[in-house]
Symmetry: C2
Subunit: 339 residues, 2 copies
């Protein structure tokens, strides 16, 4: 193994000088810098992470707590992880993956063992049992999602409340008076997952404000469930002309279900989907969507984390404004047949 001493010897300087060349924490004469950098390259020196962590109290590792269920909005999670990983590297950090189901104790372990410098936590629940643990930790923490009581932790997420409202507003502006929401798997609501709850809230409030008749219909991801959901929906209210789908997995089955029921999109029914932009083009009809900016959120989460590590201590809550893109799946409702 090549150590800092090897480099120092090769360059004819002291180890501390090598360290300073690397960290830039004090000025180095151009000549010395050149010599040292040459030695580093020649020897292929990489500082030992453990030694560095021990001496500096910094690991340059960020822990990311991810929900790795197969049922969830897989591609959103992937996009998020990808962007977090990329952003982390841009800040010279590595990413440690922690699965949500390791529970709160794992977070303690990561923090206390100084495996990572900070934590980013996905899939936050409204009243998340991990919160007390995270608060007690002496490490910066950023939540992706917003619990009811953030307790001084920083949060970042799409403004799902505004997103829910935006969907209703869009349909309302087009003239729809009876709309329905098909949200995530009931399990997601039961856990009190932050984003689902907030979206639902925004949806309901905006509908009330506009006096739009709004119902919600539960649905899991399976083909069967999607069709059952549609049946239930049109039984409960045959007059629905606008459908909001906040359920990636069910989207294909729901769309083909509509087709099978001879409901054309958007002529007979308008559809707004809440999903990553990349999915908008995956279907027969270009979908009007509220984008889930997973990439942006990931980057912001890392950026906030780095700020905290840099000494910025006041917590903040960043809610990204939703962006609704009109495509081909929404249109004004057909005029009621004159009775």
């Amino acid at each position: 193994m090549v150590t800092i001493n090897d480099v120092a010897d090769a360059a004819g300087v002291a180890p501390s000088t090598v360290s300073y060349v690397l960290s830039g924490k004090r000025s180095i004469s151009p000549r010395t810098r050149r010599v040292v950098e040459t030695a580093i390259r020649k020897l292929g020196y990489h500082p030992h992470a453990g030694a560095r962590a021990l001496a500096s109290n910094r690991t340059n590792v960020l822990a990311l707590v991810v929900p790795l269920r197969a049922d969830l909005n897989v591609s959103v999670v992937m996009e998020f992880v990808a962007s977090a990983a990329t952003a982390a590297r841009e800040h010279d950090q590595d990413l440690l993956l922690v699965t949500k189901n390791e529970g709160p104790a794992a977070l303690q372990r990561i923090a206390s063992s100084a495996i990572a410098d900070a934590l980013m936590v996905m899939d936050v629940e409204v009243s998340d049992s991990r919160l007390p643990v995270l608060v007690a930790l002496d490490r910066p923490t950023v939540l992706i999602g917003v619990p009811d009581y953030p307790a001084g932790l920083s949060c970042v997420d799409l403004d799902f409340t505004a997103a829910g409202a935006a969907c209703v507003a869009h349909l309302g502006d087009l003239g729809h008076r009876r709309v329905a929401l098909i949200g995530p798997t009931p399990a997601v609501y039961q856990r009190g997952t932050s984003y689902a709850t907030r979206f639902l809230h925004g949806f309901a409030e905006e509908a009330k404000r506009r006096e739009i008749h709004a119902i919600t219909q539960e649905c899991t991801g399976s083909y069967e469930a999607s069709h059952t959901a549609l049946d239930a929906l049109f039984t409960r209210d045959p007059g629905i002309t606008g459908l909001i789908v906040h359920n990636e997995a069910a989207l294909p089955a729901l769309l083909s279900g509509l087709r099978q029921r001879n409901l054309r999109v958007p002529e007979d029914i308008s559809v707004v989907a809440v999903c990553p932009d990349s999915m908008a083009g995956q279907h027969a009809t270009g979908l009007t969507t509220v984008a889930i900016p997973a990439e942006e959120i990931g980057a912001q989460a890392v950026e906030m984390t780095m700020r905290h590590l840099g000494g910025h201590t006041t917590p903040e809550i960043r809610l990204l404004s939703p962006r609704l893109t009109t495509r081909d799946s929404t249109a004004p409702p057909r005029p009621e047949p004159v009775s």
Copy 2:
């Protein structure tokens, strides 16, 4: 921060004793053990990962190199990462996420900085440019996928060659004589991705052996592309009765495309999908599938890695046998109309 000395003091023993209680590397009297363990719990002691790594040359971290493109078989990647993470924890290891596009230099860095003890590499290409780097590393490496020349590295994967053959064999056994393969995005082939190439090979060989007329049709993941692909396919050979789909993303669009062309599955055309078992039920017709056992592969990859870390040095190549599950999407072809 609570250190091993704090624990030692609290327990009235030497730090080394605490260390040995933790590692079990020498026998400890029951009484001492009890006292020490109590102190550990009471103080909430967690050994400092950096210090441990420095002293022991072991980080207890496994690096996982993942392709984080949105285009790829997202859910397979997710399943894999999830199972690797879980398996790693069962071996008391943490998982460091490295994105493929950080390139070979990142692998050097991880290894040389002793950030991780071993590497697991996904999305291996037939002639992967990372191979030389990996071989030169002095750290255990397990490839998920099989390059043309593994160069002494251990590999684990589904036996995609056998999988390709199994699909053809299944259709052949049912009596199909003209089949087609819709594989992954062309980009995947262009990169020479190991699994795609091997599957294609197995497909072609088995078809040749059975004298089955077999064609391949390229297709990306989009809705458009899927329909174009179907058009091209039936133009090139209207007599196709069996379709093998090795492209998760395109699957929904392809199935709805068949329906739109009034081709019933399986009466008019049989479909075999290569995908995780969990996707088999996502569609109108229960799909006959060759399962991609991402979970099993992940667990095996970790297990192999741990064996290497345990001193087992001889490389091995593990190919999991494919499992084809017959569901409702395959049936014998209709008898040719008598001409």
